[in-house]
């Protein structure tokens, strides 16, 4: 909590590289402008906050572990268009560095430095056999819809 009434809550659903960049740009920019910021990661979005950043078997159950292996973590998030088998996000990151624009990794680290509230969706975690220990330590809590509504009440809610 920042002690003011400006609040923005982002539902990070997509898990695409470009949409995560958009979500984290909005989140870090808002936090720096003194907003309280919540990001609720659900479904594909959970890949961005996994402790294991590459293609690793994670979670419980053969099918869930296979899904998590195929999806990977933040090092494997695809571009929503022109992904070219995962080559484009690497080229895009290179271009962002060249142009002195923050990369997805830099934005994520900034989000942690700024104390943005990171939450994981209970239902998606259940499907994918994941627990809180499969995510980065900065992920504060596992939430269902009622808690998300409670935490985001009185602010803007954005779905990305």
């Amino acid at each position: 909590m920042t002690g003011n009434n400006k609040k923005i809550s982002i539902i990070s659903f997509s898990g695409d590289f470009d949409k995560l960049v958009a979500a984290f740009t909005l989140a870090t920019g808002s936090a720096a402008m003194n907003y309280e910021v919540n990001i609720f990661f659900t479904f594909w979005g959970l890949n961005a906050i996994k402790k294991k950043k590459g293609h690793k078997f994670t979670g419980k159950g053969l099918l869930a572990r296979s899904f998590n292996f195929l999806m990977g973590g933040s090092n494997n998030v695809p571009l929503s268009r022109l992904n070219f088998c995962g080559l484009s996000p690497k080229l895009m990151s290179k271009l962002m560095k060249k142009r002195n624009v923050a990369t997805l990794n830099e934005l994520y680290n900034a989000a942690k430095d700024l104390g943005i509230n990171l939450y994981a969706c209970e239902m998606s975690m259940h499907i994918l056999g994941l627990t809180l220990s499969d995510f980065d330590k900065e992920v504060k809590e596992v939430l269902g819809v009622p808690k998300f509504l409670e935490y985001s009440e009185g602010g803007d809610r954005i779905f990305i």
Partner: protein, 75 residues
């Protein structure tokens, strides 16, 4: 009262004011942060962001080639 320096001339939105906020969080109340930044978006957003957080803008000075010096006192 200590003085600190931050160069964000090569950064773009949102890292200009993100880096400023992170740097201001590290220093003590009353300390000064001297920021070198460019005109346009950084010059517009960095002082606005700092003021919103209760810090004081001490000085804004044009240096050269669209580069400015902004001095903020941590509130």
């Amino acid at each position: 009262m200590a003085k600190y320096k931050l160069d964000i001339t090569k950064d773009h939105c949102p890292m200009t004011f993100v880096k400023t906020k992170v740097e201001l969080a590290k220093i003590n109340t009353g300390d000064l942060l001297e920021i070198t930044l460019t005109g346009g978006e950084p010059l517009e957003n960095v002082p606005k962001s700092a003021s919103e957080q209760g810090h004081k803008i001490i000085e804004t000075k044009y240096l050269h080639n669209n580069t400015y010096l902004l001095v903020i006192e941590k509130g």
